[in-house]
Symmetry: C2
Subunit: 456 residues, 2 copies
C-alpha cells in the first residue's frame, strides 16, 4: 500500500485526549443512570436483518448498513434480481445481517426475547455505537454512540418526572447550566389537530408556529394559510400565538383551548402532573419549558415528548430527546408494553462542554512522572520505585531507552507529564530521588516517602 492510509468517510479515530473526554461524559451519564435505578444491557452490533428492516421507514431501511453473507454468497442470490441488477431487491438474498441503526429496536427485541427472565418494570440503559449510512456532514457521523435510558412495563407518569430529573442530574455533574428541557405531549398535538380540524396538517401547523419568533404572527398565519389550513381554524387556536408565561399559565391556556377535545385534555392532565411535580421537586441546572411546537417522533411517541436544547449561548441543535411510546414491543409480538425513555447526544454534548470549557483539567491527565533512563542499572533502581508507586495507584513511567537526556525531557514535555524523576549514582548511593517539577523548573532530592507524597 503506497498511499497514506485513511478511514471511511463519516467515521472517526479518537486520540487519547478525545477518548478521555468522551469517557468523562459517558461516566457521568452512566453513574446517573445507575443512581436512578437503570441497569445496563448490551446487544450485538449486528442483528438479523428482519429484526431491523421495516422499523424505521423506507428512508431508514436505506440507511441501514448491511453485512454481506460470508462464503459463496452468490450461490443463494435471487437469480432474477441478480439478472435485473436490482440492488434493493437482491440485498435480502445476499445479506442476512445488518449493523444496528439505533438502540431502541434492539432493546424492544431484547425485551421480547428475554421476557421470561426480566423483572418488570424494567429500567435499562445502554451506551453503545450505532451506524447509519447517512451522508456525512458537520456533526453527523456514520458511527456514533447513543446513550439511552428507558423504562418498559409501566405507564406511571413518575417515570417522566424522573427522566427530567435525570437530564438535570447529568447536566449538574457536567457543570452545564442553562440547558432547556422542552416538554410536549402527543395528545396535546392530537387535541390541536382536532381543534383546527385537520390532523393531516399538524406538522405544517407546528413547523409554521415554531417560526413565531422569526417571522411574527402575521408571517406564521400566512404560511399556515398557504399550507391549506383555513382561517377559521387558525382563529380557534389564537392563544397559541401568544403562548407565553409560566408553565402553569401555559397549561391553563391549553386547558381552555383544548376543552372540547378529550384526547387533548388527557394530554393537559399528563403535562400538568409531570410539570407540577418536576417544579415542586426543583431542578438544579436545567430549565423546564412547555413547547407546543415540539413534534419530535410524531409517528411513534404517544404521550410525553422531550427535547433538550443547549444553553442559549451555544448555537447548536438538540443535545437529547425522548418520549413515551405505548407499544414499544408490539413489533415483535409482545403487546401492551408501554415504554418511556430519553437519549443523550454524546457528540453534541461533547461539543457543548468543550465550547463552554467545562472539561476539568485533570480529565486528560497522563502519567504523573517520567523516570529518566540513564542506563540499565539506574533503570532497575527506577523500576523498583515505579513498581511500588503503581501498586499505590500512581501513574508513572520509565523512559524505555537510555536516550539523550534532552530528548527524554522533551518527551515528558510533549506528553504533558508534570514531573521528571532523575536517578544517578548519587541518588542510588543515598537511596534518594531527584524530582524536577517540569512546570516550575524546581528540583529537589528526596527520599521515597516524600516522592510518594509528591506524586500521590
Amino acid at each position: 500500500m503506497a498511499s497514506k492510509p485513511s478511514i471511511p468517510k463519516g467515521t472517526r479515530d479518537f486520540s487519547p485526549s478525545e477518548v478521555a473526554k468522551r469517557q468523562y461524559i459517558i461516566q457521568i451519564i452512566k453513574s446517573n443512570f445507575e443512581k436512578f435505578g437503570f441497569q445496563p444491557i448490551e446487544t450485538p452490533s449486528f442483528e438479523n436483518s428482519d429484526t431491523l428492516m421495516g422499523k424505521y421507514g423506507e428512508e431508514g431501511d436505506r440507511l441501514i448498513f448491511k453485512i454481506l453473507n460470508s462464503g459463496d454468497y452468490l450461490a443463494k442470490a435471487n437469480a432474477s434480481h441478480l439478472e435485473n441488477k436490482d440492488s434493493t431487491k437482491l440485498t435480502s438474498s445476499i445479506s442476512e445481517k445488518a449493523l444496528r441503526y439505533d438502540l431502541t429496536v434492539p432493546f424492544a427485541r431484547y425485551v421480547v426475547q428475554h421476557q421470561n427472565e426480566i423483572e418488570f418494570p424494567f429500567k435499562r440503559y445502554q451506551i453503545q455505537p450505532v451506524w447509519r449510512a447517512d451522508r456525512p456532514q458537520k456533526g453527523r457521523f456514520r458511527e456514533f454512540f447513543q446513550c439511552d435510558a428507558d423504562v418498559v412495563g409501566s405507564k406511571s407518569l413518575w417515570q417522566e418526572v424522573e427522566l427530567v430529573q435525570l437530564y438535570d442530574a447529568v447536566f449538574t455533574d457536567l457543570g452545564l447550566v442553562g440547558a432547556t428541557i422542552k416538554i410536549n405531549n402527543r395528545k396535546i398535538l392530537s387535541g390541536i389537530a382536532e381543534v383546527i380540524g385537520a390532523s393531516d396538517k399538524l406538522i405544517d401547523f407546528t413547523v409554521a408556529l415554531d417560526k413565531l419568533d422569526k417571522i411574527g404572527e402575521e408571517g406564521v398565519k400566512k404560511e399556515m394559510i398557504e399550507k391549506g389550513i383555513n382561517e377559521g381554524a387558525i382563529e380557534k387556536v389564537q392563544p397559541l400565538f401568544n403562548f407565553t408565561g409560566t408553565i402553569t399559565e401555559k397549561i391553563e391556556k391549553l386547558s381552555q383551548l383544548l376543552a372540547a377535545s378529550s384526547e387533548g385534555m388527557k394530554g393537559v392532565e399528563e403535562l400538568r402532573f409531570i410539570c407540577e411535580n418536576v417544579l415542586k421537586l426543583g431542578l438544579n441546572s436545567a430549565v423546564l419549558d412547555l413547547d407546543v411546537t415540539l413534534a419530535r417522533g410524531l409517528n411513534y411517541y404517544t404521550g410525553a415528548i422531550f427535547e433538550v436544547a443547549p444553553p442559549k449561548t451555544v448555537a447548536m441543535g438538540s443535545i437529547g430527546g425522548g418520549g413515551r411510546y405505548d407499544d414499544l414491543t408490539g413489533i415483535f409480538g409482545l403487546k401492551n408494553m408501554s415504554g418511556v425513555g430519553i437519549s443523550f447526544g454524546l457528540d453534541r454534548i461533547y461539543l457543548v462542554v468543550e465550547e463552554l470549557s467545562l472539561f476539568p483539567e485533570t480529565v486528560t491527565a497522563t502519567s504523573k512522572a517520567l523516570f529518566i533512563n540513564y542506563g540499565d542499572k539506574e533503570a532497575f533502581y527506577a523500576m523498583q520505585a515505579i513498581q511500588k508507586l503503581r501498586a499505590l495507584g500512581v501513574k508513572v513511567e520509565l523512559y524505555p531507552e537510555n536516550a539523550k537526556v534532552g530528548k527524554q525531557f522533551q518527551h515528558a514535555d510533549k506528553r504533558g507529564i508534570p514531573y521528571a524523576v532523575i536517578i544517578g549514582e548519587d541518588e542510588m548511593k543515598t537511596n534518594s530521588y531527584a524530582i524536577k517539577n517540569l512546570v516550575t523548573g524546581e528540583q529537589v532530592v528526596i527520599d521515597f516517602e516524600n516522592l510518594k507524597s509528591t506524586l500521590l
Copy 2:
C-alpha cells in the same frame, strides 16, 4: 414478525449482571493500562477494505465481515465476476468497507495516519469489539472484545519487563493467583531451527516437543522422526527433552545448546534480560515460566513471545498473549517501527474469574432501596428523599405504580434490592421513614439523617 425474535449466531446479548461483571474486569484492565502509562485510542468499527484485506492471510480474509455498499451497489459491480457468479472476486466491487478483525492492524493504520501528531515511543491501549466470521463454538464468538496494550517506537527490553508486570498487576487486582506467564523468543526458535538444520520443520518440532508430558520422550522423538526430522538433529537438542529447573537454569541450558547460533544467542540474551529483571523485581500473583515450545504468532513476532495460562485448577486455554514485532507499521509504509504488546482475553478471563468465584458480591449491586409507592402524595414525599439521596450518590428507586404492596416487595426481592422504604400517613406526619431490611426482615422507623447513613 410472528416468531420470537433472535440474534445472529455467534453473537450475544449481555444481561445487567453480565455487563456489570464484564465492566468490572474491563475497569481493572483499563486502570492498570493507565497506571503503566498507556493511553487510550479508539478506531472506527469498520475500516476501508484495503486496510484490512491481505493482512491476516487467506483464511483471515475469508473471516472478515464485509459491508455491502449502500445504494445501487450493483451498478458498479464487476460485470464478468457477476456473470460468473464468482463471489470472492465480486466482493471488492460491491463492498468497500469491512468490520475490523483485530485491534493490531487498525492500530498500525492509526500510527501511520497520525504519525505527525504522535509523540514516540507511543504507549496505547485499546478496548473495543472485533468481529470474525468464524464458525461459532463454545467460547468462540463472532463478536468479542479485545483489550490490547502496545508500545510502538522503542526496542527497549524494559517494555517486555513491564508487560509481564502489567499482566501480574491485573491478575493481582482480580485476585487471580497462579496464572502462568509463559515466555519464549522467536530468536530462540530460530536458533533451534538452525541447530536441527530444518527451519521448515520448526512448527512440527515444537508441536511434538509440547507433548512431552503426555507421550514421553520416546513418543515425542518418534513423532519428530515421522515428521521428517532426522535423528542426528534430535540428538543435538537432547537437553530440550529434560528442560526443567529454574528459569535461570533453563536459560543456561539454552545458552549452551544454542552457542553456535548467533541468532539463538541473541534470543538467549534477550530472555535473560527480561526474566532476570522480572524475577528481581518480583511478581505478586502470577508465575513466570520459560517455555521453548511456545511458538505463537510465529509469522509476525520477531522477539519475545508471551502466552498466559490460567491457574492449573481451571481447565481452559490461554487467557492472554502477545509479543514483539519489529516491523509493525511497515504494511502501511512506515518502516523501522518496532512494536511490542499484549492482549487480555476478556471472555476467558470472565469464565476463570467466575469459576473461581472471584467476582466481588458488590459487582452486580443494583439499587440500595426501593421506595414503596402508596399513591401520589406518598410518592411525592418519597421523591423528595430520593432526590436528596441520589445527589449524595446513593442508588435508590421509587416503585413507579401504586400497585399491591406484595407485588412491590416481590419486585425488590427479584431485583435483589436489600432495603424497602415504606412511607404512609404516619411517616409523612412525623417526617420519618420506615425502612425494612429485606434480608433480615427487621423494620425500623427513622429520620432522614439515619436513612441516609443506613443507605450510604
